[in-house]
Amino acid sequence: MSTVLSFFNYWVVVALMMIGFYCVIARGNMIKKIMGLNLFQTSVFILFVTSGKVTGGSTPILREGVELYSNPLPHVIVLTAIVVGVAITAVGLALAVRIQEAYGTIEDDHLGDDDDDERLALEARQRR
């Protein structure tokens, strides 16, 4: 029991990671894929933050009467990683919008497999 509780964060990380990863692989909808990707990345952020906790340590702000601090470095790292994650989400969503415009759907199954150069060239000419 104590093992389960003391590693609670890690269990959460693993569960979230697998849910996110499964979502990326199994879902055809691109928005759901991006959500899965977000969940997957967030689980890694939690993993990082968890590693910074020092047992008995307080928040890493210098003040009177506190000897033991938690490690602040993982938080800083995760901030950077969050920025990266937001950027990826933004680019992914932008691409999904463009795909919706170009194909009329964002279900990834079989999308684009039937495209060939002649038909695309024809469509482009008609649009012009």
Partner: protein, 496 residues
Amino acid sequence: MNIVDLMPFSVLVPLIASAVVAMLPGRTLPWALTFLATLISAVIAALVLPAATDVTLSYPFGNWPPPIGIEYRVDAANAFVALLVSGMATLALLWAPISVNREVPKRQGPFYALFLLALSGLLGITLTGDAFNVFVFLEISSLATYALVAYGSDRRALLAAFRYLIMGTIGATFLLIGIAFLYMMTGTLNMADMAERLPEVRDTRSVRAALAFIIVGLGLKLALLPLHLWLPNAYAYAPNFVTIFLAGTATKVALYVMLRFIFTVFAPDYSFVVLPLATVLMVLAVAGMFAGSWVAMFQVHLKRMLAYSSVAQVGYMVLGVSLVTAAGLTAAFLHLFNHALIKTALFMAIGTVMYQTGSAKIDDLRGLGRQMPWTMTAFALAGLSIIGVPTTAGFISKWYLILAAVESGAWWLVGLIVLTSMMAVVYVWRVIEAAWMTERPANLPMVREAPLGLLVPTWILVALNFYFGLDTRLTVGAASAAAEVMLGSGVSGVNP
């Protein structure tokens, strides 16, 4: 100014220039500034290489001493890769303006800005000595690359970019998990420092998991066989200039980082012992060589054909690594360099064909040899190099790979290397046959030779292929110095 102080500007100049280029109007101005920034970066890389061959250069950012601050740590291995990346980017830019005017007619500023971001990301990965910095730069270059791929002229580029984004992000996140485990076990992010502290905790499951996560994550970026699925479509539907740039740089940098982790952070006597890494890499490399060449033989779209050929060529590089000898690593670095020259030349030739005819399908190439003799001759000569005909750069790397295989007693590998080279003969020959041995069908438009602005850079690359096929002092010297640096760091504290 000291060369060490100059070193970070190789990354900083393209990074800062990208912000300026994004706002520049018109067509000439963005290209000119991009070219200037890339050239400066390449010149700095060229100056750093001789200095870094003898000693490891270290530049601490903000004067914070390394384990605490971020440092750029440059030795013979990454100076070599940095020179390759910035040099290839410069040559690709020479080819770019005419083609980009066609493919990105409006608002070229942001396009070139993305290119500069991708370049500075790749150079950052190469030069940095900090594991988390590797992740950040990897994502900078990847994000810019996804957007660049999406610039492609038809809608399949969007789909290719999206799938590349999903797979690339999974790969980068795997790398981040690996780095998180390493940080938890060692309490440091500096690679050299990490290598020193790892021996104490080497027998833990976390460290083994870290190694596995890092290899899979970087394997995705590298397009090692079962993880290569993003590559063919991304290369095929991206704008030609982007394909040319990526083919010469992106997978090469991923291979370098993988080697840096396997050999420097973990040390070979650890990473090849706790995991059956040599076997796994060898099997995947050989499978990649075969599957890539096999699929390439049947491709109708020539950019896809060359992309699958890239998967095969990554196999050769990884095969050299999997031998875990100085000779094998030398061959890997040598092919890393030579393949960049070969593939850039081939993609430039195909890009030139696409510019003139609007198609890269093999049927539309029929009879083109007489109408575009210079372009098709360039393709044929670069094709000789990818096959590995003597006097070409491709021969040199295959020769060293075969020597390394023989030295390790793996004679059967020699047969496999020759066999896959024969498959390369097939896919190059198909193009030559279509271009020269068949008449131009009446329903295909007549085309003329490409403008000099496309031909000259293509021929520069072809000439380099032959130059480095005859004069191997620079490449072999730098590659063996890089291999020595990689193998020389037996810091894991394990006695083999």
